[in-house]
Symmetry: C2
Subunit: 349 residues, 2 copies
């Protein structure tokens, strides 16, 4: 009988953060593609767009005018999924199939730069440092609101990720409950901590740094790697090397190091298919419920949809929705491809 070869044979890998498996089919990368291609805009964007509601000095849908901001700029989402209003609600303690509860929260938009045509990969490190300071301030301010227990910082980049405006920006949704994915991660980190007295991701990172095969880029304070259990073809995670539970614990050196690795990772992404690489990214860190959370380790996920080129994405559809996430190229192969790319942006070559 053929001996199991993880680089060749179909297999499942286990994700200890969310207690789920992913199906890996390394032999399948050669599949021809006849399906939908994404359109990519090759239009050079201007530095300022008078019709953009995020550019400095422009008027938004609700009639408010953006200030002439020079670094980053934060405002309340005009079409927020969450509302701040307190709602009177009595929980039904009977067992029911119709379990619902009101949810309070605050949604904000974070403009990364007044320049309409800049993305993280092309920003100067100082500009990214400024965004990290903004995230720190928002995590603190929102976390201090009495009914807010979780602050989700994220970015949707590219129209294929539902982003309606190329102006560089991210969002923050802060709310009372731990969202489903965060709660799953929380429970698994907690169980590991209770069992071992150490931090799951911190221990995991130590092993990855010994093996190196899934590490894309690292510096003194952070590593970016393709997790062993990655689902998206070029999924990565940035993990802090020190045991840090939340972004407000960063030293100034760590702020700079995080800015550097963000720039390096997003530059490699752009270089992969010589395109402005789409992704959704998001920071996972300690809840803001006022408790200490030694089980948490600061990390940031990047979920990019592209598979083979700037226009062919991976579709997470039928089998993936009904059954299990599935990938073709292995995490090790993806990591190697990203690692072998230059830190110099292709536009500057």
């Amino acid at each position: 009988m053929k001996k199991f070869d993880i680089n060749e044979d179909p297999h499942r890998r286990y994700n200890p953060l969310i207690n789920e498996w992913v199906l890996v089919s390394p032999h399948r990368s050669k599949r021809p593609w006849q399906g939908q291609n994404e359109t990519i805009s090759t239009i050079e964007l201007p530095k300022y767009d008078s019709t953009c509601y995020l550019c400095a000095g422009n008027v938004r849908a609700n009639g408010e005018r953006n200030p002439a901001y020079e670094n980053s700029f934060v405002f309340e989402n005009d079409f927020a999924a969450l509302k701040q209003e307190a709602i009177d609600f009595e929980e039904n303690t009977e067992e029911t199939f119709f379990k619902a509860q009101p949810e309070r929260g605050i949604s904000r938009v974070v403009c990364f730069s007044p320049k309409h045509n800049l993305t993280l990969s092309e920003m100067a490190v100082e500009g990214i440092v400024n965004i990290i300071h903004t995230w720190q301030k928002e995590y603190t301010d929102l976390g201090n609101v009495d009914y807010i227990n979780h602050v989700q910082i994220f970015e949707n980049k590219g129209s294929v990720m539902g982003c309606s405006n190329p102006h560089p920006h991210g969002q923050i949704w802060a709310q009372s409950s731990l969202p489903t994915e965060v709660e799953k991660t929380h429970n698994n980190l907690k169980a590991y901590f209770d069992k071992h007295g150490t931090n799951l991701l911190h221990d995991y990172l130590k092993e990855e740094l010994k093996l190196k095969e899934r590490v894309v880029v690292e510096n003194d304070h952070f590593a970016a790697l393709v997790p062993f259990w990655a689902v998206w073809p070029y999924e990565t995670m940035i993990i802090s090397k020190r045991h840090i539970t939340k972004i407000t614990e960063f030293t100034e050196d760590e702020v700079t190091a995080f800015a550097v690795i963000l720039k390096q990772l997003t530059t490699r992404y752009d270089n992969l298919f010589e395109t402005s690489f789409p992704y959704s990214s998001g920071i996972h860190q300690a809840p803001t419920d006022g408790e200490a959370h030694p089980e948490w380790q600061f990390h940031m996920h990047f979920y990019p949809p592209l598979l083979r080129s700037a226009t062919v994405k991976k579709f997470m559809v039928g089998y993936e929705m009904m059954g299990e996430s599935q990938r073709d190229i292995t995490a090790e192969k993806s990591a190697q491809m990203l690692r072998d790319l230059s830190d110099l942006h292709y536009k500057n070559k």
Copy 2:
């Protein structure tokens, strides 16, 4: 304080099948859309396409010629994610972050009809009956293979769902393990059965049939409804009224009734935006591990991506990937819209 109104206020709903929540923002439906639009093909497809690898009599990528089939036709997927080969593997019992195991399986493609331009909504009931018989046969044959414990029947319809060929077809991925989503459902159905001695979905359906507000269409044997915890804007589920654990338990009356409701539901979908409505669908039913599974109830999920029109879809991106699934329109509103549509296909009006 304002009293909680589920039709107006942001809230979370609980999905007992997978033990996850969904964030519902009813007030948000009025959000303007400036993002990516899907392109829809308005080309009338021919009944036969000489370049289609699924049409009767044509040659596939591997050189094999399809027979001159007249109803449905099943073949092994030429680029399967799973392989049938047995793999020698010794499980590592030590705790590790690198948990992987080989996975054996069989992938098949099911052509629904030799007609290149037919979809379920436009097929005659007899044609759909024939597909159901094919699914029964495949569930039995694949389920009987000694190492196969789960048979996932699904369909990706439309290029936006990663479907590379409009020829009407679905797929079957059968494998050794219960895939992640099925295992979650299995565990929750099992826990409910152990506690109550009855079937979760069967009990749920009874309540929905009393309330009616989320039911789209029903007949003597099946109901199609928007589940209380639906994630996709027009997500639905078809549930058998009798306690049936798997498709092979259908009586012939039930086969016909299932064909009828499949046609009615997909016709309403097409009528909603007067387009060939994209979706991924899949059947969830008892595992094929040779055990009795009284905790299981046959059901079929439909996850359609569209939100506002034939070209604007719901993006499940940053917040949804990092945090929690989110929807704007309520399940009740979607159900009403689908219920109010005609059973007559818009092309025949």
